[in-house]
């Protein structure tokens, strides 16, 4: 809001009745003159205040998402459609992820008539990941003396997504992913449709005439075709455990927080390495991000990720089982469990099933019992250690890359560790 000179405003408004009272009691003509002039001053100010915002409008332009802690640039476009110039206009905005409730900018002017001015402000995403509201936008102005203020709400309410801060998961190297400038060149040595040459074989009628390799045909004396390899897009499928029964902890130390932050970092790293990522989760509202690559796809995946809640009823292993036929050969399937209370034999079966399809499994367990309990008693310490030991044995025995994360682990320090998936310590 514009500066509230409450004392001087009180003087300006209270002075008139005081002078009128004096004029009435003392019967002095000049005091009536003071009252008349004072009234004129208030009237002129009131009339000027009604014109203060005439013809002005405001709109916001901002990229609709950012990571935690990022600096965000917001453009406000102020339009003056009236022929008069505008002076001392205050622009108000509410940037939900920011620390302050409202942001205020001053355009002292002069903004000429029939003109548009673009103003920029910078703020920071100070709050945790989630979906926030931007707006409403407001325009405030006043008469020249600031006695009568006017403020107009202009709407402009929109949403803004704040993604969790991501860390490069270096341990992902262990599961076969590698940085590449041309990820589409990764192929498998099986006859397919890629541009990578594999060899020459005899022509068969189903090949068609266009595929005949004429130099080889001339050399061999019979029709021959060139064989190329199968494209193998490096794919990264992420399965989230969003089962309601696995809720634990509150705030930053909760199972959901660990699942979402770890998932975001995995997705980020996989995308940076040129992999095609997809996300599956069975919450109340199903999370399904089909395979895709690039920053826009990552933004979409993260946007879906920050909207999840642990309110699902389906077991994550069932979800993997259902999706398994659709997983491409050579892809990676990362399963993010929100608990360590899992049936080891079912996990073993799942790993086995994935490997049969040529899919590399990656298992990450968030130890929900290490967080403050929400709606169920935590495992006793001995049983918790025993469960963790069973999972370690599973990872070790089957040579599956994986990790167990608990309340004592700082994700910012753990996720970038190169040996994160080398085997839980």
């Amino acid at each position: 809001m514009l500066h509230r000179g409450s004392r001087l405003r009180t003087f300006a408004f209270g002075g008139l009745p005081w002078v009128l009272a004096l004029a009435l009691l003392l019967r002095a003509d000049a005091l009536w003159g003071v009252a008349f002039g004072w009234g004129l001053l208030l009237l002129a100010a009131h009339l000027a205040s009604r014109r203060a915002l005439a013809g002005l409008s405001l709109r916001r332009e901002v990229y609709p998402n950012a990571f935690e802690g990022d600096t965000v640039v917001v453009d406000l476009v102020l339009e003056n459609r009236s022929p008069r110039r505008a002076l001392l206009v205050e622009l108000g905005d509410a940037f939900g992820p920011g620390h302050a409730d409202r942001q205020s900018l001053l355009e002292p002017g002069p903004l000429p008539g029939r003109c548009r001015r673009r103003l920029r402000y910078r703020t920071a995403c100070s709050r945790d990941w989630g979906v926030y509201t931007l707006g409403p936008l407001t325009l405030s102005g006043a008469d020249p003396a600031g006695l009568f203020r006017v403020s107009v709400p202009l709407g402009g309410i929109s949403s803004f997504a704040v993604f969790p801060r991501v860390h490069e998961v270096l341990g992902i190297e262990r599961i076969g992913a590698r940085p590449t400038f041309a990820p589409r060149e990764t192929t498998v040595a099986r006859p397919g449709q890629s541009s990578a040459y594999m060899g020459v074989r005899d022509w068969r009628p189903e090949d068609g005439l266009r595929r005949i390799h004429w130099p080889a045909t001339a050399r061999l004396g019979s029709l021959a075709v060139k064989e190329v390899e199968v494209d193998l897009e490096p794919q990264f499928a992420l399965f989230l455990d969003l089962e309601r029964g696995h809720r634990a902890g509150t705030g930053r130390k909760s199972a959901l927080e660990y699942v979402v932050r770890t998932a975001a970092s995995l997705l980020w790293t996989a995308t940076q390495r040129g992999q095609s990522v997809e996300v599956h989760g069975a919450a109340k509202h199903a999370v399904l991000v089909p395979a895709g690559r690039g920053e826009a796809h990552l933004a979409h995946a993260l946007d879906e990720l920050i909207r999840v809640g642990m309110d699902g009823t389906e077991d994550v292993l069932e979800l993997v089982e259902r999706q398994r036929p659709a997983l491409a050969f050579g892809s990676t399937a990362a399963i993010l469990f929100a608990t360590i209370r899992v049936d080891v034999r079912r996990v073993e079966a799942c790993v086995q099933g994935l490997r049969e399809r040529g899919v590399h499994p990656l298992l990450v367990f968030v130890n929900g019992d290490s967080f403050a309990p929400v709606d169920k008693w935590p495992l006793p310490r001995e049983r918790m250690l025993e469960a963790q030991e069973q999972l370690r044995a599973l990872l070790r025995d089957h040579g599956v890359p994986g990790a167990i994360l608990g309340v004592e682990d700082d994700l910012a320090a753990e996720l970038p560790r190169a040996d994160l998936f080398a085997g839980p310590s």
Binding site: W18, A30, G33, G37, L40, A100, L106, R114, T123, G155
Partner: protein, 362 residues
Amino acid sequence: MLAARDLLLWALSVLTAAHALLAWQAAPAAAVGGLALLQGLALSVAPLVGSRVFSGLDAVGRGRVRVLLGLLHAGLVLVTPLVVGAAPALLPRAALLLAWLQVPTLLLAASEAGALAALMNAGALVALTALHGGLAAASVVTGFLPLLSGFLVFDHWARTLAAHPRARVPALRFVGARALSLAWPVAAGTVAFFLLVPPRPAESVLVAASRGVRAEPMGVAHRFLILSLLLGGGGILTAVRLFRRSPRGAAPSLEALEALPLEDEALPPEPAPPLVPHAGARGRILRAYLRFLSDAARRVPRRHPFETAREFARRVGEPVRPLRTLTELFMGARYGADEPTERDAVAAEGAASEIRGAWRRR
């Protein structure tokens, strides 16, 4: 901006003090000149001294001394003109007291409370001069109100810019023009008033002059003054306690950010208003809607060619009822098969007027 504000406050103080002192012959012209210099000096050191004085006062009794002094001063300036109006013998002394009191108030004028004290003091001096009547009264009122307008304008700008320390400061001439735009109607109106009604002295002053009352009964008048001060201060304190609104909940936190101006762009010229080929009720409804669009273009971004009337109404938002009425009548008149009735045309024109009225009131 601050220099202009201080200059106006000084001019206002000197004007009112000089008029009061000279009109009531409370001090010679040389003393008035000295007082003006002293007031200028006080105002020039105000930024340094004011905050120290306030912090010193706040250190004693957790700010109660400051509140008490403020109340006493407010009581003095509010009640004095009334009291001395009833006892004109006290007028020269009251003028002298308030004129000298202006010096310490100007020392505190860097703060809002100090500026308020100085303005109240000046207002009381104007009231004292007004009791004298004649040219002195007319000239002090004619000078005081435009100077007050100018001071309020510059003070408002200075405080607003202080609240946004990284904002650009516009050229002084723009602020000066704003101050003039507010001050000239006030000055012109006051001059016209005094041309029509030349100010006579207050009735009590006339009575005192006719009876030859000079210096009696001074003791009674002084007691009356002190009693009035106490009553005035107590009355203000009671009123503040009674009517002060306690804040509800925590105030929203506000972040003053720097606005970086990127570029200015001229808006495209307004397209010519389309002609309405229809006559009768249909034409009246269409013309009412076009008038509404023309008004709306000054408030919200113009209606796009791809935007339906209902979509545009949703975007405009307020006022809901007449907007809905006008939009529906327009849809019927523009796309409907039936000829609208005279009643529909009146309703559409009424809705358009209602929308325009609501926007003007905002």
